[in-house]
Amino acid sequence: MNGIPSSHILVLSLILFSVGLAGVLIRRNIIIMLMGIELMLNAANINFVAFSRQLGDLAGQVFAVFTIVVAAGEVAVGLAILIALFSNKDTINIDQINIMKG
């Protein structure tokens, strides 16, 4: 089907996932860490679409829509937590936010 092997789509999604993972691990800015999570969710969606195409089943695309819904909710709540955190601690550096540390 249009000459793209499914394994290449999976490799693309893996690379995007790894970039997002590296972004979450190496950045100290919470906003950029959330962007890394978005990249990882997008990679998961690409996998859903790839398998939907491979198996000829639309369920993959439907679940990708649900993933987008969850991602939108995650961003809204995550950014609201960030704003509440910033108004309390005056920082967005993840290293200085350790009030839960025992």
Partner: protein, 167 residues
């Protein structure tokens, strides 16, 4: 290489490069703009993979909604103090972890035997992708769809409460 395959590889390259830019730029606004570029490329990839409805949702929700939310928060939270870079061993550890994951799985998938895709049921029906996905969404997945709308309602109320006042 067919035209759509060429477009796929081109969009993939741009998506990966802009994703790397997202996580490496110092300025958060630049990261958000590269995030838009990544989302548009992924939407183009969805079009190549015959998931037009998902491509439209991707552009509307991600590039239209989520990135605007990010930009609002970047404007609300002052970024003047440059963050100290993490210690070198953290960087090396994180990059090694990500590289190891990617390398191991890519070698696994690259040699995978190619199986011919099952022809989609949508290809045989005259209705387009949007109509078939809509039918699937409202018939087989009606309950998850309603639960998703409830989740969105909760995710709308919670930020209002969280960001309203000092907690």
């Amino acid at each position: 290489m067919t035209g759509s395959a060429f477009i796929f590889y081109l969009l993939s390259a741009v998506a990966v490069i802009s994703a790397v830019m997202v996580v490496t730029r110092r300025n958060a606004v630049h990261s958000a703009l590269f995030l838009v570029l990544t989302f548009f490329c992924v939407a183009g990839i969805y079009v190549v993979l015959a998931a037009e409805f998902l491509a439209a949702v991707q552009v509307l929700v991600y590039a239209g909604g989520i990135v605007v939310l990010y930009l609002f928060v970047i404007m609300l939270v002052p970024q003047h103090a440059p963050l100290k870079a993490p210690p070198m061993r953290h960087m090396v550890g994180a990059l090694m972890l990500a590289g190891l994951l990617a390398g191991a799985l890519i070698t696994f998938f690259w040699d995978a035997p190619e199986v011919a895709p099952v022809p989609a049921a949508a290809a045989t029906t005259p209705a387009g992708n949007i109509e078939t996905v809509g039918m699937e969404l409202y018939q087989r997945y009606l309950l998850p769809f309603e639960v998703a709308s409830l989740l969105l309602l909760v995710a709308m109320i919670a930020p209002v409460i969280l960001a309203r006042r000092r907690i």
